[in-house]
Every structure is written in structure tokens, then in C-alpha cells.
């Protein structure tokens, strides 16, 4: 590169093809793996991939899975996940993954092929208006129309994907741009001309936050995916801050692992299927500190009854997340990690003492809520007894304690996902991957694939439901091809359990289309893909199957037959307040009172 003051004697004549320039830019961005699927419009990229060794290509079996795999890679490493798909159906197949990454703020760069520029708009073969279709499903997207823009756009896409609130970025690449010669430019060192998210929090606001927190008699710290996205140092800072203050802490579904689940100051997850103590503490607190969470409707329940008596502080990197659902007294824009470091410093700088007796009373109150033991369940142990799904997760958790490897959990979507969140305890960030915002069935298997690619020696388990797993079951082929020893742990209740639960509670037990009929034999299915299939039909078989699964160095599907009638509790029914939670089926009669207004909510 030359700068304006020293123009080159001769203009640089590009010698490499667009496809080669693309790979060079990816290398300069530190990319080591791409999840993709070939097709006509991206053949030049596949040709360039063929001639190099720096970037590994993982061939998925469906483009949606490529994006979820890249999400798993990104969430478990903190790096940008990269996807490559062809034009038309390749791009449209990727849309669900992009929407998933958008709602969960996962950094992805998705390269899509496109018909050559002169054919755009002609309804050419495998043409789709990819930038049009993906505009609301991405953080940003680009159509490269000039070879001279190619390298700059790729670098910019990585910057946009990982900066501020991360998200998916699409680069649509017409075939002529890939074949024609293009100049290379390295990543820019100048700030982006328009996108410069604020990361450093305002110190005056941080000092006000500390003053508010020190005045609290019933404080609560509520943190979300923003702390995870801010990197492991942010989670470490959170733990120091929670310990320094002595305040209780809860995490959202997206935020699990940011604060160690085993810590006595952790109240568990909050929200629709959160713990009784977390939700009641949210309801009863007088000062609420939100770090990197977005007052999502799964968390707040009925808005006008949400944490009614608290003064609220909200720290978020995305100004549009603040004051969106819940008005807050003190909005602070900034990176969660920087903000927590600033809070720690300001806490020490402010001599005001905390009202320790009031806080001790608050903890006594929390302990009485805890005494309710809201996650209790009864597992009969006579041989032949049916397995309770909660018990299956609990045993999975306990038996993995002996495992020396790093453990990563992904999930599909449904009851099993909530049980995984409730009964598997996460001590570190980036080890829990679940589709929180979009709630995409079929997420967990490809996400586990991406995690295993990034961490070849780790233990990666997809906690699945028998319905969800079938949505991307074709990825068993990918696992087999790359010998990825992912463990698929299916809580097989023979129902779309979460749908069945809502039908039971809200629609008079009319189980319309929620029975998982004609299921495959998962053991034979595993076998067909060259994996190991295991099955536990009753409680006496459970530990043996889990042990065998953990000991196996190959891909495993463990089909765990669990109680089809079990519901996921505690539960805040739609449209209810935190203090109206249902603790178990005994009190589920309470939902008969759900209004039509509540029923329209999902």
C-alpha cells in the first residue's frame, strides 16, 4: 500500500484473481477454518482453496449447518466464524443461521457466491437477491461490484462482525469479481469512517452507578451474553466485582458461565425457566445492575410488573438495547469488560460504606427462597424405572466431573435445552452454546461440530431432543468425514416436549401434531453414519450408557428414553410476573388463569 503523499511510480497492476485475493485477505484476518458447501458461482474460490494449505475447509451437508458450525466455532473461541456458500439456494439455506447469529450477537462472516455482475437482476440461474434477503438477518452486508473494493470490503466485514455488538456479515461475491484480477490491500489501520462503537464507559456515570449500588439495601446483579462476548477477562472482572460487593448475581441463558455456577453468590439462571430465587430477587430488589443483557421478554415476563421497585442501571455496548423494553435510570454505553473494570476501580475510590446489615437481611430472604429448592425432582430408583430428564442431565453433569478434558455443551431447542441450562453447571465462559434469541431447533449438532473443530481434544456434547436432532441430522456425515468425536445426548421423550407442555398448560391438553411419530432407530442411525449408538431405557442403564459414551473416542449418539410426561419447571407463564411463577405440576393449575393476552405471547 502507498499513501497519498507518496504515490507509486507506476500504478500497481493486479496479478492475482479475486478468489486468490479473497483467501489472502482471510489469512491476514487470521482465519484458519471455513465451513462451506460448493456450487457453480463459488468454484473459483474452491479452486483457490485447492491450491493452498493455510485455510482448512470443512464440508458440511447443509448450508444452515455451516453457519451454526461457524457460530459454535466463534462462541467457543471468541473469534470470527467464517462461512462459504454458493449463490441462490446456498445463500437462502444459510439465512436461518444468519438470523440466529444476529439475535445471539455472534461474529460471523458469510461469503456467498453470486451470478456475474452483468447478469444480476436478470433472474439468472441460481440468482437470488442475497443482500436483499439477508439485510434484516445480518448486522451488515455487502455486494462487491468492483474488484478494487474486494480486499477492503473483506477486511471491513471482519471489523464490523467483531466490533461493538458482534453479529453476522454477508459478503456477496459475483463470479466475475472472483475470476477477474483484483488488487490487494492489507487491513486498514485508520478507524472506520462511520462505524465506531463506543467501548469506554463514561467515568462519571460509573461513579454514579457505584453510588447507587452502595445505597442499595436489596441489590441484584443481572448479566448476559454481553459479558461473554467481551472476552474471558470480562467474566473474571465480573467475578471480582460480585465478590467485592457481596451482592447476589444471576445470569441469562446467554450469559451462563460468565459467573461460576458453584459460587454461593450465584442464584442460577433467571427468566421463564429460571430459578425461584433468581426471579424473586429480580422482583424484590431495590437496585438492579444489568451488565450486557437486554431485558429480553423471556427474562422480564410481564413488563409492567418487572422488578417494580428497583432503580435500574444498564451497561451495554449497543445503545439501542438500552431503554428499549425497560426504562432505566442510569444508562451506560460501553464494553462489559471495560465497564466492570471501571466499576471495580470506582468501588474502591468511593468511601461510602455498604449497608451490610440490610444486605445480610436480603441474603436471609434469598436463602428462604432458595430453601424452596425449586429444581427438585423425584427419580424412582427401582430397576426398570423410567428416567426423569432432569436426572439424566444431572448424572451427565456429575459423571463428566471426572473427565480431564475441557467440556463444551451445545443444545438444541426445547425442554431439554432448559433442563441443560438448569442442571448442568457452568463454571467458565465460552463453554455453553445454545440458540437463545432465535430458538433454532437444529442448532446444537452443527454448533458442536464447529466447537470440536476449534477444540479437537475437548469433550463436546450436544444435549438434544429427539425432534430437534432430526432438523440437522445430515451433519452426522460431516462428523464422520472429519472423525469428530461429538457426543449427541438425546433426551428422547417422544414428544416435541416444549410444545406438548404449552398445549397441556394453555390449550386443554390437546396435543395437536406434537407427538414424535415414526422416529428413526437412533442406534441404527448412528451405525449407518459410522458412529456409535447407545441406548438407555431405564434408570439402571443410565450411568452405564453415560460412562460408555464418555469413554468412547468416536462420535456417539446416546438415545436416552425419558419420561414423556415431564414438564419443565419452574415456569413463569406468558404474560405473568416473576412473583407469579409456577413451581411444579402441583401448582400448574395456576396457569388456567392465563389470559388471552398472555396466550398471544410466545
Amino acid at each position: 500500500m502507498t499513501d497519498a503523499a507518496h504515490p507509486p511510480a507506476h500504478p500497481v497492476i493486479p496479478t492475482a484473481s479475486g478468489a486468490e485475493i479473497l483467501l489472502r485477505a482471510l489469512k491476514d484476518q487470521g482465519v484458519d477454518v471455513i465451513f462451506g458447501y460448493p456450487g457453480g458461482s463459488v468454484l473459483p474460490i474452491y479452486d483457490a482453496l485447492f491450491n493452498q494449505n493455510a485455510i482448512r475447509h470443512i464440508l458440511v451437508r447443509h448450508e444452515q449447518a455451516a453457519v451454526h458450525a461457524a457460530e459454535g466455532y466463534a462462541r467457543s473461541t471468541g473469534r470470527v466464524g467464517v462461512v462459504l456458500v454458493t449463490s441462490g439456494p446456498g445463500a437462502t439455506n444459510a439465512v436461518t443461521g444468519l438470523a440466529d447469529a444476529l439475535l445471539d450477537s455472534i461474529p460471523i462472516v458469510c461469503l456467498t457466491g453470486q451470478v456475474p455482475t452483468h447478469l444480476i437482476g436478470n433472474d439468472a440461474f441460481q440468482e437470488a437477491d442475497t443482500t436483499g434477503i439477508t439485510r434484516p438477518a445480518t448486522k451488515h452486508n455487502y455486494l462487491v461490484k468492483r474488484s478494487g473494493d474486494l480486499a477492503r470490503i473483506i477486511h471491513e466485514a471482519f471489523y464490523v462482525a467483531r466490533s461493538g455488538r458482534p453479529g453476522p456479515v454477508v459478503i456477496d461475491l459475483p463470479k466475475d469479481i472472483l475470476i477477474g484480477k483484483a488488487p490487494y490491500t492489507p487491513p486498514a489501520e485508520t478507524p472506520h469512517r462511520s462505524y465506531r462503537p463506543r467501548t469506554e464507559p463514561d467515568t462519571a456515570l460509573i461513579a454514579r452507578a457505584v453510588a447507587m449500588l452502595k445505597s442499595a439495601r436489596r441489590p441484584m446483579i443481572y448479566t448476559g451474553g454481553g459479558v461473554i462476548n467481551a472476552g474471558p477477562a470480562a467474566s473474571a472482572a465480573l467475578a471480582r466485582f460480585v465478590h467485592k460487593t457481596g451482592f447476589p448475581c444471576t445470569n441469562t441463558l446467554m450469559g451462563l458461565g460468565a459467573f461460576p455456577a458453584s459460587d454461593p453468590q450465584f442464584l442460577g439462571m433467571l427468566g421463564m425457566h429460571g430459578t425461584y430465587e433468581a426471579n424473586l430477587a429480580m422482583h424484590g430488589c431495590d437496585v438492579l445492575l444489568n451488565v450486557g443483557a437486554r431485558f429480553d421478554d423471556r427474562v422480564t415476563g410481564r413488563l409492567n410488573a418487572f422488578s417494580p421497585d428497583s432503580r435500574k442501571i444498564h451497561i451495554d455496548i449497543d445503545p439501542s438495547s438500552i431503554n428499549k423494553n425497560v426504562p432505566v435510570e442510569l444508562p451506560i454505553v460501553g464494553d462489559a469488560g471495560r465497564a466492570l473494570e471501571a466499576l471495580l476501580a470506582a468501588w474502591d475510590a468511593d468511601p461510602t460504606p455498604v449497608d451490610r446489615p440490610a444486605i445480610a437481611t436480603w441474603w436471609r430472604q434469598i436463602d428462604t427462597w432458595r430453601g424452596n429448592n425449586c429444581l427438585r425432582f423425584t427419580q424412582p430408583h427401582e430397576p426398570g424405572s423410567i428416567i426423569k430428564p432432569q436426572y439424566a442431565i444431572q448424572r451427565l453433569y456429575e459423571l463428566t466431573r471426572a473427565v480431564k478434558q475441557d467440556i463444551f455443551i451445545t443444545t438444541e431447542v426445547g425442554q431439554h435445552q432448559m433442563w441443560a441450562a438448569q442442571y448442568f453447571k457452568f463454571e467458565q465462559p465460552n463453554h455453553w452454546m445454545t440458540s437463545g434469541g432465535l430458538g433454532t431447533m437444529g442448532y446444537g449438532l452443527p454448533a458442536a461440530m464447529g466447537v470440536q473443530i476449534a477444540h479437537p481434544d475437548a469433550l463436546v456434547i450436544d444435549i438434544a431432543g429427539e425432534a430437534s436432532i432430526l432438523m440437522n441430522i445430515q451433519e452426522m456425515g460431516t462428523l464422520s468425514q472429519y472423525r469428530l468425536p461429538v457426543k449427541v445426548f438425546i433426551l428422547n421423550n417422544e414428544y416435541m416436549g416444549m410444545v406438548r407442555q404449552w398445549q397441556e398448560l394453555l390449550h386443554g391438553s390437546r396435543y395437536s401434531e406434537s407427538y414424535s411419530a415414526a422416529l428413526p432407530d437412533f442406534v441404527k442411525l448412528a451405525d449407518a453414519y459410522g458412529a456409535v449408538g447407545l441406548r438407555a431405557k431405564s434408570v439402571d442403564e443410565l450411568d452405564g450408557v453415560i460412562r460408555e459414551m464418555l469413554a468412547c473416542d468416536r462420535t456417539v449418539i446416546a438415545d436416552i428414553a425419558v419420561d414423556p410426561k415431564e414438564n419443565c419447571y419452574p415456569m413463569i407463564p406468558s404474560g405473568a410476573a416473576h412473583n407469579e411463577m409456577i413451581l411444579g405440576s402441583e401448582s400448574a393449575g395456576g396457569v388456567a388463569g392465563v389470559t388471552d393476552e398472555g396466550k398471544v405471547l410466545v
Partner: protein, 177 residues
């Protein structure tokens, strides 16, 4: 407009400075339709840097919380440089241009309407930019409510067609976006 309470509904005139790249208008419009915000008026034209930057003026309405949300959502679009809430940040000017066609033939006793239309146009400082024995086209620039009032007065006089630009707005004094 109501600007007092947090729950009050208000109209906001928002100016947005953007990179003039393909798809930027679709992005802004898609944001409004996707999130269910109102667009009362929207104008866009290249304004700076040899056409590399455009200014979009949007008139929208909503509660204070919604308008703050609209501004934050606009601001986080990657090609957006600056967002300014002209109706909140201080006094501002907002103008629209309109061309309005009146059909009132000389014959059939329309002569009176023609004279009346010209008189009103004069009073409203509308210019005659086209005339035939059967019609006039008036051009007029001004605040939205002034244009609205003129349209209403022309209605009984043979109003046939209205073409309006939508609002262009700018802050008074030295303040710039």
C-alpha cells in the same frame, strides 16, 4: 406537538448523514417497516463529498421511548455517520416543496375559480409555473402545515393533482449535524 411527558406522543424530524452506498435507503426503510415505526415523510439526496454522502430527513412520530429507540437503531447502521433529532436538539427549519395542479377551464363558468386560485396563490406566495386555458400548476415551498392549508383551499377550485417532495430540514443558527 406533545413533547412533555415520557408517554406523550410526539413528532420528530430526524436528519441522518449516511454513506451514499447501494442499499442504504432500503436499510433505513427496512428498519422502519421491520420494527413497526411510522414514516410520515422521508427525503434523500446526495449532499457532501462529491455525492459520497447523502442526507436523509425523516419525519416520524411515536412516544419519547420509541423515538429514542429509532435514533439508536439508525445510529448503529454501519453506513450511518450521524443522527440528529432536529426537533429536540434546538430550533430548526423544515420545508417542503410542492407542485399542485388545478383544472378550472375558462368556459363552463370556471373563470371565477381561476381568479380565486390566483389570488390565493398570491397570498400564499405560490408561483405559477405552468398555465393553460384549462389549468394551472403552482409551485410552493414552505412548512408542511402551510402546504396542507393551501391544498385544502384549492380543493373546491379544481384541485387535480399534488406532488410533494417531503420535508428537508436543518438546524437554525450555527449548529450543524
Amino acid at each position: 406537538m406533545a413533547q412533555d411527558s415520557n408517554n406523550g406522543y410526539r413528532t420528530a424530524t430526524i436528519a441522518v448523514l449516511v454513506d451514499n452506498e447501494p442499499g442504504i435507503l432500503a436499510r433505513v426503510v427496512g428498519l422502519f417497516s421491520g420494527r413497526g415505526y411510522n414514516i410520515d415523510s422521508l427525503t434523500v439526496a446526495a449532499v457532501e463529498d462529491n455525492g459520497q454522502r447523502s442526507r436523509i430527513n425523516i419525519v416520524t412520530s411515536g412516544t419519547e421511548m420509541v423515538i429514542e429507540q429509532i435514533k439508536a437503531q439508525l445510529d448503529r447502521l454501519v453506513p450511518v455517520h450521524r443522527v440528529s433529532d432536529l426537533s429536540k436538539d434546538g430550533p430548526h427549519l423544515a420545508r417542503e416543496m410542492m407542485m399542485i395542479k388545478i383544472i378550472c377551464p375558462h368556459q363552463d363558468g370556471g373563470g371565477g375559480n381561476r381568479a380565486e386560485a390566483l389570488r390565493l396563490a398570491d397570498a400564499f406566495r405560490a408561483r405559477v409555473v405552468d398555465a393553460s386555458t384549462e389549468s394551472f400548476v403552482f409551485e410552493m415551498t414552505g412548512a408542511t402545515d402551510k402546504l396542507d392549508a393551501f391544498v385544502e383551499l384549492m380543493r373546491p377550485l379544481g384541485l387535480a393533482e399534488v406532488s410533494r417532495t417531503g420535508v428537508a430540514a436543518i438546524a437554525r443558527g450555527t449548529r450543524v449535524i
